[in-house]
Symmetry: C2
Subunit: 331 residues, 2 copies
């Protein structure tokens, strides 16, 4: 008999989530039926989207949403062998039963040199998000200037490196000097600490006096107000996240952006990676990212929190910007 | 010797332009040189863009910007015959000399049943703006729900009728009951007076309980705040104007729209008709609009102010929403 542990959301978050908003529960899993498999989670992903989507998709008391890398430990389905690895979307939970339909295989050809947790990061949802938003919305041309904020995060680090591969001048902003140093290390042309610059406008102008052709938006709010002012005519903006607004109880206000969108003839498009899941670009992105990582053209960094019991703390830390690269919880 | 009259902008506008912001000046035109033509304006266009663009493009004391339909009255250029009509961009002026390069011919095949002022309206800049923004940015599919505001204006009336031709359900908002009645008359499925509804949100929901696929934006500001809430996932927004913000001395603020853009995966794109001038769609739009008008599929309405001396009043009236359809000044 297997006992599964799960983290539930006790109450909807107000402002930054707190440890007491979560509760650990245990339950016994029933014996497998024919066609089912039992999996055990090894790595979990914590991501910014969980903050706004918990509000939209969860009731109080529900298990928190999210993905994991999990290993088959028992199988009554001939398509799933014990020891095989899958990416699942089974929430913050240690053990779970699946009919296999929602599982995405981590191929047996997975390079031994790479941790399987990359399937939750640079080669998983955040990496594919970076690849698809950059390609499909920004569509940067060589020589263009590319801006990304939250640049040291799971998505931003990959976006900036792909934009470099595409021949752009890449500018990133992040929230600590250590992160800025990391961005320079992985090839960003310019990077600044948005918390310590005296003016965002000046920092953006200094990083690129000619302005910006492409802008990969992870932050929104006041950063966006400043960045939109620095866009060139016909600039493209991929809205991937608005992390500066997720903890607001009362929506923040800012100057209307439509006049800038109009007079600069900008294109702004919001996207969720789910829209690409059944399109060719999804597999293309996975393969390309894996190749680039193996060739050393894209570097990755993981911020590991050890222990399932520390998952709420790891999530809150990620929202607080403690991570460089992908925030991962390890069993 | 010909005396030309022009309206200059004495000082940059603060808030709604006032009559005393304009001054009528006269000057003698020199004799024509070889290659030049002398034209006399018969119709002038007054358009919302003049309010924000005067700030960007004019110095105090400059002649106001704008287009006219003008007739050749003297020619030292064999390509231009006396009596021929052209659309020019020579500003608020009665007579002017041109080398012909910037003139756009009104063909001799122009239907006698149609006023040449349409070359400034439904078959000119506003009509082409409507056609290009709708086709290139909204790209509506049959059965989709299409929203346009400032719907009784020069652009809005044409947008709505094209969206009907494309098989959409069309909803328009305007600022008087008379305008609303006109919108119904020309085929809008739903129309409301935004000044008298108790809530924009409710009015938008009532007009389309399923929400909106396409949104042709002429207004911005609070209208946009409400409309964006009612967009369907993957909606397209063509930002053609932001008339509610043009008279602001201090920019208005509103809730950040990026979270909506993100979670609904919306595409918002600003455009000026100038970007289409040298593309095939420009001529295609002119021809198609003329055909539709002759076939009775697109109806037009002009709001004529008589007398060049009344041009500032006509401009201010248009900004105040006095016009239904295209605001034209007639010599």
């Amino acid at each position: 008999m297997v006992v599964s542990k799960s983290w539930t959301m006790v109450r909807h978050f107000v402002g930054l989530p707190k440890l007491e908003d979560f509760k650990l529960i245990e339950k016994e899993l029933p014996p497998l039926k024919d066609g089912e498999v039992l999996l055990e989670s090894e790595f979990w992903s914590v991501d910014p989207y969980m903050r706004p989507y918990s509000k939209l998709a969860l009731k109080e008391g529900d298990v928190m949403m999210g993905s994991q890398v999990a290993r088959v430990v028992e199988s009554k389905n001939p398509a799933f062998a014990i020891g095989d690895y899958y990416v699942a979307r089974s929430g913050w939970t240690t053990n779970f039963i699946s009919d296999g339909k929602e599982l995405r295989a981590i191929p047996s050809s997975w390079p031994g040199s790479l941790p399987k947790s990359l399937a939750l990061g640079a080669v998983g949802m955040p990496g594919i998000t970076a690849y698809a938003g950059l390609q499909e919305i920004c569509a940067p041309k060589p020589g263009e200037v590319f801006l990304v904020n939250s640049a040291a995060g799971a998505v931003g680090t990959i976006v900036g490196q792909i934009a470099k591969i595409k021949g752009c001048k890449v500018v990133g902003s992040a929230g600590s000097d250590q992160k800025v140093a990391y961005l320079k290390e992985i090839g960003f042309d310019e990077a600044f600490n948005y918390k310590t610059v005296s003016s965002l406008d000046e920092a953006l102008k200094e990083a690129s006096s000619e302005g910006y052709d492409c802008y990969f938006e992870n932050v929104g709010g006041k950063f966006a107000d400043a960045a939109l002012q620095q866009m060139k005519n016909f600039g493209r903006i991929a809205v991937c996240g608005c992390v500066s607004t997720y903890n607001d109880s009362i929506p923040q206000k800012g100057p209307y952006i439509q006049p800038l969108i109009l007079f600069k003839q900008l294109r702004m498009e919001g996207f969720l990676v789910t829209q690409y899941e059944n399109k060719p670009i999804y597999k293309e992105a996975q393969k390309q990212l894996l190749d680039w990582i193996l060739e050393g053209k894209v570097k990755y960094h993981e911020h590991i929190t050890n222990g399932f019991e520390n998952m709420p703390a790891g999530f809150i830390g990620m929202l607080n910007g403690e991570n460089t690269g992908k925030a991962i919880i390890k069993a």
